[in-house]
């Protein structure tokens, strides 16, 4: 298993209060059977990944759809009442440090100054979604609006402690979007774990989906008609290429989902103070690598590489020790 995930889990287990993730996936109005089918498929895949790969229990992975009978995983209808009920339920159930991830899949619209996400029956405007999300209080919340014309949601929902992802840059990007399909793909496999720490951050999922969307359009020889944004510093200005170094991306990098596979060896690690010490030492080395990277421009290349390698070798050796103690054999 990846030691970083282990560290996170072990740290949580030995003292820190647990941070559960709650997922609400809302599949909106399809309008056309083909769209309805595709939107539901994407929503079901996201829900399945959350439950199967990231081990979220059914009550923490809710799927709402236009037709509650359309898929076994659907927990309720995605009309205003259904959405309000689901949000209210999560707000009541979630612990104070829990995180909430809301994913919207469907069509969006933007007329005048008002952006909407289309639901069966009356829609919620962006402002109404903002009011709904306020029910989560101080909890860390991420909203992924994968709909067309979703860009204005960035400004409408921006708030401290909130990550907002939209599939489009503006309300004028009204064509059908592909973002949701690739966001689902990011959740399903390991390909989007770009820093190989065994976990999937929202930043990684966004980066993966954005790149795959661009590739999709390029291979089909189409002009890119959706430009995804991420805002996590609350300024209402989304970034097309967020990163850990900011201005957007640092909070999304810490909004992580831990796969079920990472839990397998937690009991061993948690029960072993040596392992915990090693994990902490290794974490410190990782922090040193981050500092070295930040100082790269001020150093000669050879010196940078030498120091980087020294740190990485230490991390590798620590990893071996951790792996050996948690029953992972001698490999790093």
């Amino acid at each position: 298993m990846r030691a970083a995930a282990l560290l996170l889990l072990a740290a949580a287990a030995v003292g820190a209060e647990a941070q559960d993730v709650h997922l609400v996936t809302v599949v909106g109005l399809g309008g056309d059977p083909a769209y309805a089918e595709r939107f539901l498929e994407w929503g079901a895949r996201i829900n399945a990944a959350a439950r199967e790969r990231f081990d979220l229990p059914p009550e923490r992975a809710l799927l709402l759809a236009e037709d509650p009978t359309g898929h076994p995983a659907v927990a309720g209808r995605s009309d205003r009442a259904g959405v309000e009920a689901a949000i209210r339920g999560v707000a009541e159930r979630a612990g104070p440090r829990d995180r909430v991830l809301v994913v919207l899949i469907g069509h969006g619209s933007f007329r005048g100054d008002e952006a909407r996400f289309n639901l069966p029956g009356p829609d919620f405007t962006a402002a109404e979604w903002d009011a709904l999300l306020a029910r989560f209080g101080e909890r860390e919340v991420a909203v992924v609006n994968t709909a067309s014309a979703s860009g204005p949601f960035v400004q409408a929902l921006a708030a401290p402690g909130r990550t907002v992802i939209t599939a489009t840059r503006t309300g004028a990007e009204r064509n059908e979007t592909q973002f949701a399909g690739y966001f689902a793909e990011a959740l399903e496999g390991e390909a989007a774990d770009l820093d190989k720490d065994g976990m999937l951050s929202l930043l990684e999922a966004f980066t993966y989906a954005r790149a795959e969307v661009a590739r999709h359009y390029g291979e089909a020889n189409l002009l890119l008609t959706e430009h995804a944004l991420l805002d996590d510093n609350g300024d209402g200005e989304g970034s097309e290429e967020p990163s850990r170094e900011g201005p957007d991306g640092s909070a999304a990098a810490l909004f992580r989902l831990v796969p079920r596979s990472a839990y397998a060896t937690v009991p061993d690690a948690v029960g072993d103070s040596v392992t915990v010490r090693l994990l902490n030492e290794r974490g410190a080395l990782e922090a040193e690598v981050a500092r070295l990277r930040a100082a790269r421009e001020t150093m000669e290349q050879a010196e940078y590489e030498t120091r980087l390698e020294e740190l990485l070798v230490q991390i590798a050796l620590k990893s071996r020790e951790i792996a050996a103690r948690s029953g992972g054999g001698g490999g790093a």
């Binding site: 990846r2 030691a3 820093d195 190989k196 795959e212 990485l312 990893s319 071996r320 790093a332």
Partner: protein
């Protein structure tokens, strides 16, 4: 004359009712109207009574204009000579009034001294149009090379315009022309010239000259649509107006419209002595590599005006192109005697040299033109363009900048400078024989493939020809076809894929077009072959020879590369629509129909199949040596092949008939192709039967056609396609197999092989499907999807070697699909080709994958396997820099450091 009969009764009625002077005015106006409407004979008939005995200068001037405009210069001069009685009465002032027009007619005939005397008489006699005479005197100064005096003369018209409350229409025309001349030194003055033309048009209602002048001005400023509009307005009233037609012809020529020649020839119907039209016709012939016709047209122009420097320029170029050194030198001397500062002869020579691929010679000629006249911006641009083509990049860039400063309206100059600005985004990679410029964003991807292929091609061609072109060869790959076009022509819109200027090769990068549209590697090989041909022949090789041989070199390099005979080509050849071998160049430089250029590539390449098979490759080498010595194809064919032109043509024709006997029979019933389309679709991407007619009536009609013509390839193919579309795979297979037997090398992706592959695939016969695709892939250099589909099938069959080969061919066509490189890397590694694996892993990384940590790690592994430990470590650090806890990478790092588990 018909018009005259219509108008005269009206004039007679008028004569009975009004006084004599008023009658004359009415006649004059009627004549003017007839003239403006192109009724030249009617105008002359109306004017005749006015000039019979009276001085009537206004009528005589109009008469002379009509006669000169229709090429009757001698009659014009006669009209301007006062009869005895008239000369006696008010002879002095009348003669002065006629002098300017007389001077203009003499000037058109090249009788400069007499013209000068006439203009001076106009000025001395204070004629009403003496300002126009002053303009002509300045123009004469210019023509004689007295630039300073000429410019001073033109400059006076600025004062005339600014200091006069009201100028006549003729004076405004003179101002417009003078300011146009001054615009050579100060381009902003062209706006003033245009304003003067507009004012002249107001002052001279109906007179075509201001509109034609404005059209010429627009054309000189490269505003072809505006020029067309001005000419159109004139031609709407007088469809035969010679100068407006000439302007339209020049505008068409500027646009690249092949109708320019016909339009210029129409000028001669009204004015057979129109020097400008003759010169344009000569230039068009010269560009079409027909120096004999060019010479004849230029000489015809000179027979009207022996001092026409533009005609002398084309004549000199025609002699030079024809290799007549003595006549060439004589033409140069003649032009020098007229105006030693005239740049046009050398500028024309430079353009013709560039058109015939003698770029260094073009540089020398253009440099001489600029030496003679430093304000010859066109010549300076030609110098710059050809310096850029011959590797003198810095000088070319500097000269292009100077040319643009002098003529900021010139789109060629601006486009080229804009392009040169993008060079900062290119990476220049140097190899043993090449200097390769790649756009930075795709350089990491392309560099390994391009450098390897370029050197492979160089080595192969050097070995085959036993000679080498000047090196380094500069190879530029542009991701934008528009940029490639500007680099080649200065304008966008060139449809070619690559161009060879000798040791400078310019081409589309593989990203310039969609996957499957072209094969960059094959194109590179083709252009490099030109570099050898041009180098060995000192740029004397005819175009047909170099193009055909370059296509043959593509096929020699890789059997599936290069154009190959299609049904439409064979049909055109069979129908006699292709020139014989001895006149093969015509198919390239003067194509008779749109597809003839493409077909000419095929036909010329087949000629080299025949020559090499029959006479050996040394014969081809001897041709190139012979061209270097200035010999003609006809002479060389006699010497090397022992064949005169007729025998050469006949022997080659028999070769083709024998080689393609079956295919010709199979396509003989093809309908004549519509413009731009093939009788049988050449290729339709993904078109494995889609869109074919499939209705019962269609099928029955197609069956009937097959019954009537069982040996017809298109009939069999159409029926097979229709049956497949209707779900009858078994029936389709029978006809598709027969189609394949009839035309086994059909290269189109819409042909029997692709359809048979589909049938096999749907039946689960993967191996047969893959084999059909493999066979198609050997016939079509662009078949990206075919290779990819074959690779899929081979993978399913577990045929690693076949899959690897198919993917290699796919990547060769379009290297931008990371999945193909990823798989190819795995296959290379499994086959022990560590170098190949490294190359493919580098390609994956160069395509900027979202998972860069993994891509760096895989490259590190490949490098390690290839023994590149140092770079492997570096790549590993790149991976871990992104993902410091990446288990696999950490483990490999420890292994590299000897700390393996």
């Amino acid at each position: 004359m018909r018009g005259a009969h219509r108008a005269l009764p009206a004039l007679l009625l008028l004569a009975a009712a009004v006084p004599l002077a008023a009658q004359d005015d009415a006649r004059l106006q009627a004549a003017r109207e007839a003239y403006f409407g192109g009724e030249y004979e009617q105008a002359l008939a109306v004017l005749a009574p006015l000039t019979r005995a009276a001085p009537a200068p206004e009528a005589r001037i109009l008469q002379a204009r009509v006669l000169a405009e229709t090429g009757r210069h001698d009659e014009a001069l006669a009209a301007l000579a006062l009869p005895g009685a008239a000369a006696g009465a008010a002879g002095g002032s009348a003669a002065a009034a006629l002098a300017r027009t007389r001077g203009e007619v003499l000037m058109a005939l090249g009788r400069w001294d007499e013209a000068e005397a006439a203009f001076r008489a106009s000025v001395a006699g204070r004629a009403p149009d003496q300002q126009v005479a002053r303009l002509r005197l300045a123009e004469l100064d210019f023509l004689r090379g007295r630039r300073a005096e000429a410019m001073a003369g033109f400059d006076a018209f600025i004062d005339l315009y600014n200091g006069s409350a009201a100028l006549t229409g003729e004076e405004l025309l003179a101002v417009a022309r003078a300011v146009t001349w001054l615009g050579r030194a100060s381009s902003s003055l062209y706006q003033d010239a245009l304003r003067a033309y507009d004012e002249a048009a107001d002052a001279l209602p109906g007179d075509p000259r201001p509109r034609v002048g404005a059209g010429d001005l627009f054309l000189a400023r490269y505003a072809s649509p505006d020029a067309h509009e001005e000419y159109r307005q004139v031609l709407e009233r007088n469809p035969a107006h010679p100068d407006a037609l000439w302007g339209r012809a020049r505008a068409q020529d500027f646009d690249g419209n092949p109708e320019a020649l016909a339009t210029a020839e129409r000028v001669l119907e009204t004015n057979p002595n129109h020097v400008g039209a003759r010169v344009l016709i000569a230039r068009i012939h010269l560009r079409a590599e027909d120096p004999e016709r060019a010479r004849a047209a230029a000489e015809r122009a000179l027979s009207v005006n022996p001092n026409a420097l533009e005609a002398l320029a084309v004549l000199a170029a025609a002699h030079h192109r024809a290799g007549d050194e003595a006549a060439f030198r004589a033409a140069l001397r003649r032009a020098d005697a007229l105006d030693p500062a005239y740049p046009g002869v050398y500028a024309t020579l430079a353009e013709v040299s560039a058109d015939t691929r003698k770029y260094r010679e073009a540089v020398d000629f253009a440099r001489e033109a600029v030496r003679r006249d430093p304000q010859a911006w066109d010549a300076l641009g030609t110098l710059a363009t050809n310096q850029l083509r011959t590797g003198a990049l810095e000088e070319g860039r500097a000269n292009m900048g100077r040319a643009f400063q002098g003529d900021p309206f010139n789109p060629w100059f601006k486009n080229t400078l804009d392009l040169l600005d993008t060079w900062t985004h290119f990476r220049v990679v140097r190899t043993e024989h090449f200097e390769i410029a790649l756009r930075e964003r795709e350089a990491d991807l392309l560099e390994p493939y391009v450098t390897a292929l370029a050197e492979e091609a160089y080595a192969a061609l050097a070995a085959r020809y036993g000679a080498e072109p000047p090196t380094p060869i500069r190879l530029e790959l542009y991701p934008s076809s528009a940029d490639f076009s500007v680099r080649t022509l200065g304008l966008v819109g060139l449809g070619a894929l690559g161009v060879s200027f000798g040791s400078t090769l310019v081409m589309d990068s593989p990203s310039a077009r969609q996957a499957g549209e072209f094969n960059w590697a094959s194109t590179l090989w083709h252009e490099l072959a030109h570099a050898f041909h041009l180098g060995m022949s000192d740029h004397n090789v005819p175009r047909w020879f170099s193009e055909g041989l370059a296509v043959r070199e593509q096929r020699v390099a890789r059997p599936h590369w290069g154009f190959r005979p299609t049904p439409a080509f064979l049909q055109a050849w069979h129908d006699g629509r292709m020139p014989p071998l001895s006149r093969m160049n015509e198919g390239f430089v003067r194509p008779a129909f749109p597809q003839q250029v493409l077909f000419s590539y095929v036909l010329a390449s087949l000629a080299f199949d025949w020559i090499e098979e029959t006479y050996g490759f040394q014969a081809i080498r001897r041709f190139l040596d012979g061209y270097r010595g200035g010999r003609s194809t006809e002479a060389l064919a006699g010497e090397i092949l022992g064949l005169d032109s007729a025998t050469l043509d006949g022997t080659f024709e028999r070769y083709l008939r024998a080689r393609f006997a079956g295919e010709i029979r199979a396509v003989a019933d093809l309908p004549t192709p519509a413009p731009g389309g093939l009788a049988v679709p050449g290729r339709a991407r993904g078109g494995a039967g889609a869109g074919a007619p499939g209705g019962a009536a269609d099928v029955e009609a197609l069956r009937a056609r097959v019954r009537a013509q069982p040996g017809s390839f298109p009939a069999r193919l159409a029926l097979g396609r229709a049956l497949l579309a209707g779900g009858d795979a078994a029936g389709a297979e029978e006809h598709l197999r027969e189609a394949l037997r009839l035309f086994p090398a059909y290269p189109g992706e819409d042909g029997p092989l692709r359809l048979l592959a589909r049938i096999h695939r749907e039946r689960g016969e993967s191996e047969r499907a893959a084999d059909a695709l493999r066979r198609l892939g050997t016939l079509n250099e662009n078949a990206f999807e075919v290779h990819r589909e074959e690779a899929e099938l081979r993978r399913a069959l577990g045929e690693d070697a076949g899959e690897r080969a198919a993917l290699t061919r796919a990547v060769e066509v379009f290297p931008y699909d990371p999945d193909l490189h990823e798989r190819l890397a795995e296959l290379h590694a499994a086959a022990g080709d560590t170098g190949g694996a490294v190359r493919e892993r580098r390609a994956v990384l160069a395509l900027d994958p979202v998972d860069r940590a993994r891509a760096h790690l895989r490259l590190a592994e490949a490098l390690l396997a290839d023994g590149e430990r140092t770079e492997a470590r570096s790549q590993l650090l790149r991976a871990l820099e992104i993902a410091p806890t990446y288990d696999e990478a950490l483990e490999l790092l420890l292994q590299i450091r000897g700390e393996g588990s």
